[in-house]
Symmetry: C2
Subunit: 111 residues, 2 copies
């Protein structure tokens, strides 16, 4: 079977496009790990600002990767949850975490 | 075992940082697939310009992800090859290609 190179490149670039930038995957990972509240998610991602997290969550909700549920309590409770579609990122995220950890070991060995 | 969230986020962001942008992974993938010559690599990646490919190849060589060998022939023959370290990206790339293909099916179904 001839591998379709152009189709693979396209699939790869589509994925890179959806992942888009520094914060998207860490947020998806955090929510997939069970963090539901804004502050929980924020605390689990070192360096993210409230503003960036807020913007990314809106974007992820628009793209159907997460759901946002508002419970009518006092004070109002808002919960974020990952959709099944979002969970399909699992293998990508795990492969990237594994690579990042190996990469760090390599860097530490060298220095 | 408690999962170390911050370590995972760091590993994820390190990987995103090394992957860096739209072209890096498609180039790595192309070279891992056996393309060795500049023009071969260029042709396998739709939309990339000669200038971008040239810049990315230099960067990948500096980071020890590929090697560049010049053979003293007429005309001079230059070959690019991936290092073992580069091949460690394999699982990440395959997971991303698989996700991108599924994503495309999903998008086509909806429209």
């Amino acid at each position: 079977m001839i591998r379709n190179q152009q189709e693979e490149v396209q699939a790869l670039q589509d994925t890179i496009y959806v992942i888009g930038g520094k914060w998207r995957l860490p947020i998806i990972n955090s929510i997939c790990n069970g963090n539901k509240r804004f502050r929980e998610i924020e605390r689990s991602i070192p360096g993210i600002t409230t503003r960036m997290l807020s913007r990314e969550l809106k974007d992820l909700e628009m793209n159907k990767l997460i759901t946002r549920t508002v419970y009518d309590e006092t004070p109002v409770l808002v919960e974020y949850e990952s959709t099944d579609y979002c969970k399909s990122f699992g293998p990508v995220i795990l492969a990237m975490i594994a690579w990042g950890k190996e990469h760090k070991k390599k860097i530490i060995q060298k220095s």
